[in-house]
């Protein structure tokens, strides 16, 4: 028996090594591989779509293999750190979130694409994201998959909608009143926001604040105070789902019907919406005195410095940012907004187009801000300043005081570079 085990073990080791060796040869015989590491399109269905519908035609046409990998922003940076500092650059294209773009640019890990973009005449990148994707007048990131915030409601909440409120023009006060009505009627809060620190609360609040004329990230301006009041009123009526502190994304609670109301990321809202179109209603984010505020997130393509396949990478990016491909990509991946102006011409009238249309409405007509992460030492720490206010005032039903907000602002300002 023991002998058998030894033999088995040895066979296993040898066999696995042989197999690995075989594989290696296969890899070597294959055409050029372009490594595409992305934080975007992480849901499996989106991955599948990107691989089969977007990458494949390019692969066939150019005889390359696109090695598509999903990695979160932090790991992507860690990986780049190792690759850049040990001269083993194997990643060709990265897709980063705008809150982390500054780190990429400042570390000098990505190529300056200004000249290349200048040569593409058929597309105009949305101005909303220049702050993040460019630095010192140079373009490093090509925006893709922009998002704004949309209102998503479970139809079970519709009966509580205050009379005369039109979901397409709902205001923040009406939204709050609605949330309170739901909480009172159901005996339990149903509004979803992300309660786990350093997730999306800063954006959820930021959209409200922008609607009231505040800047971003403002914690204590007059507009911000008005925004806090909206959320305070929901908090005082215990309008948040009781498990709010454990939520890091509203997708699951909305799908489980633990929560019925939320204003969040359009692609994720679209994902929930698609899970049962007859059960959910999608609307633009609520408005305020100065319009519909929303933080606009975006991801961006960039080429790693030292990429061995620079020309091919440029070619692939040219392909990916083509307006028709941008639209195809946006539609196949849950409703991101294509941040290329020309792309709008390609939108149709399917349900998904409606999601995108609503989002574009917000992006075009709303009060939109990007994420000025580059101005701060650490964007996560900025988020924490907002999270803290939420945790010790709104959540507990306490009053928002100017003093508390000033403290939060001090917290934010201390993080300025």
């Amino acid at each position: 028996m023991k002998k058998k085990f030894t033999v088995l073990f040895v066979v296993l080791v040898v066999a696995s090594m042989l197999l690995a060796a075989c594989q290696q040869e296969v890899v070597e015989e294959a055409p050029t591989t372009l490594v595409f590491s992305s934080r975007l399109f992480s849901p499996p269905a989106e991955q599948e779509f990107f691989i089969n519908e977007i990458a494949k035609p390019f692969e066939v046409e150019n005889n390359v293999v696109i090695n598509f990998q999903i990695i979160d922003d932090q790991t992507l940076l860690d990986r780049a750190d190792v690759q850049q500092n040990t001269d083993h650059v194997t990643t060709d294209i990265v897709v980063a979130h705008n809150s982390r773009m500054a780190e990429w640019i400042e570390n000098g890990w990505i190529e300056d694409l200004t000249d290349i973009v200048a040569g593409w005449k058929d597309r105009t990148f949305s101005e909303a994201f220049v702050e993040n994707t460019n630095k010192d007048g140079k373009q490093y990131f090509l925006p893709v998959g922009a998002d704004v915030y949309l209102l998503l409601a479970n139809n079970k909440a519709l009966p509580y909608l205050p009379d005369g409120v039109d979901l397409d023009t709902i205001t923040w006060e009406q939204y709050a009143a609605w949330a309170v009505a739901v909480a009172e009627g159901e005996g339990e809060g149903k509004v979803c926001i992300t309660g786990i620190p350093a997730k999306s609360w800063v954006y959820m609040f930021g959209g409200t604040a922008l609607s009231y004329g505040a800047g971003f990230p403002d914690a204590n301006s007059a507009g911000a105070l008005d925004a806090w009041r909206v959320w305070e009123s929901i908090g005082k009526a215990e309008g948040f789902v009781p498990t709010v502190l454990n939520i890091d994304s509203c997708v699951d609670p909305m799908m489980r019907e633990e929560s019925w109301l939320t204003v969040f990321h359009n692609a994720r809202a679209g994902q929930v919406y698609a899970s049962n179109e007859t059960q959910f209603t999608l609307a633009p984010a609520p408005t305020g005195p100065v319009g519909t505020g929303s933080i606009a997130g975006v991801s961006g393509y960039a080429i790693m410095k030292g990429s061995a396949n620079y020309d091919l990478a440029v070619k692939f990016l040219e392909y990916l940012t083509r307006p028709d491909i941008q639209v195809k990509l946006a539609k196949g991946t849950g409703g991101f907004i294509p941040p290329v102006k020309e792309a709008m011409d390609f939108l149709g009238d399917e349900a998904i187009d409606e999601v995108i249309n609503k989002a574009v409405l917000v992006l075009e007509n709303g009060v939109v801000s990007g994420v000025p992460a580059g101005n701060y030492q650490d964007w996560g720490a900025v988020k924490a300043c907002f999270d803290d206010v939420f945790a010790d005032t709104i959540l507990t039903g306490a009053d928002i005081t100017q003093a508390r907000l000033d403290e939060a602002q001090a917290c934010i300002d201390a993080l300025l570079k």
């Binding site: 197999l19 860690d78 899970s275």
Partner: protein
């Protein structure tokens, strides 16, 4: 004679109680595991129902009726015991995709068209039909989305095997020294071996990766094995030391007396005797190497481990807990198989062999 029967009955009763107790205990312990497994077979829609269905459905019941935008598709909800609408559309393709992806149920566009025709021809307000569920849909999707799952799986086994090899050979030598020799600084050395485990590994994971990458072990399975061995060696030393201590030295001496060199004596006598224990200690190493992601994801590019591809697939599994469950189970399965075959040796792990 009566007494004999009584005794038998009492024994049977005792056994029954004992096994009932065991069953309850195991059921309690494995309840969470049951749910994650069950979840991995549920359709996305059912995975988000509350209360959660206790067992996966084997079929899906549909109701088809006329709606605003075309046809309203409803499915039987086991939780609420009613048909609930899910789609109101005219597009057959959309129905097919939805039924496949959200309900984990096999259906073709032709079949949908046939049902629609049946509705139209029946003159009734609605019709009902039933389709079998594809239970393995989540696993199917998982392996479809997870690129190179099979090579990654093989690579992971290879890396785990290499890690076992490295940590057992290097750690085993030291363990042997601690078990068989008396020397100056033995206690201090043994304690410092333990100290490696005391220093939080998360704090130095990245620098270690840098060292590896600089040593041209970037994207090499060997590189990862070397990193995993750092954590594994310390434990291996402690385990092997107690295994070797459990094997009487005289067995080895006898082999020397009867014509073997020290090495032969070790290979022919001590090693075969230690093997079960070593194999069991290999299990710890295997599990550690198998489940590790942090270093692997930074250090690999073209040769990811299975844990990395699973991680990449599941990173965005929000709204897809059933898929996450399937991925978790797919990852756990090889480890469980490994454990299953090694469990018989585990008993012998810490004290060695009794002669």
């Amino acid at each position: 004679m009566n007494r004999k029967v009584n005794k038998k009955i009492i024994k049977a009763a005792k056994d029954t109680v004992f096994y009932l107790f065991l069953t309850t205990l195991i059921a309690g312990m494995l309840l969470p595991v049951y749910f994650i497994v069950s979840l991995s077979f549920l359709s996305t829609r059912e995975a988000y129902r509350y209360p959660l269905p206790l067992v996966p459905a084997l079929k899906t019941d549909f109701e088809l009726t006329y709606g605003e935008n075309g046809y309203i598709l409803s499915v039987w909800d086991r939780t609420d015991k009613e048909y609930q609408t899910v789609l109101d559309t005219n597009e057959v393709e959309k129905m097919e995709v939805y039924i496949k992806a959200r309900l984990g149920t096999k259906i073709t566009q032709e079949e949908i068209r046939a049902e629609i025709a049946r509705l139209e021809n029946s003159g009734q307000e609605s019709i009902f039909f039933t389709k079998p569920r594809s239970l393995l849909y989540n696993y199917d999707t998982f392996f479809k989305v997870t690129r190179d799952a099979v090579p990654a799986l093989i690579r992971s086994i290879e890396i785990a095997a290499l890690t076992i090899l490295i940590s057992l050979s290097i750690g085993g030598l030291a363990g042997y020294a601690f078990a068989r020799y008396i020397f100056k600084g033995k206690d201090a050395l043994r304690f410092s071996v333990l100290f490696v485990r005391m220093f939080p590994g998360v704090a130095i994971a990245l620098p270690m990766v840098f060292i590896l990458a600089k040593a041209n072990l970037y994207d090499e399975p060997l590189g990862l094995s070397l990193i995993y061995s750092v954590g594994a060696i310390g434990l291996t030393i402690w385990i092997t030391a107690s295994i070797f201590m459990g094997i009487p030295k005289s067995l080895e001496e006898a082999a020397q007396v009867f014509g073997g060199s020290k090495l032969q004596a070790f290979m022919r006598v001590t090693l075969p005797l230690a093997l079960p224990g070593l194999a069991a200690s290999a299990m710890y190493t295997f599990l550690g190497a198998w489940n590790e992601t942090v270093a692997a994801i930074i250090l690999t590019q073209f040769k990811p481990t299975f844990s990395v591809v699973v991680y990449q697939t599941l990173l965005g599994a929000q709204g897809n807990v059933n898929l996450a469950a399937a991925g978790g189970i797919a990852m756990a399965l090889p480890a469980l198989i490994f454990t299953f075959f090694l469990r018989r040796y585990i008993n012998q792990m810490w004290g060695g062999v009794t002669v």
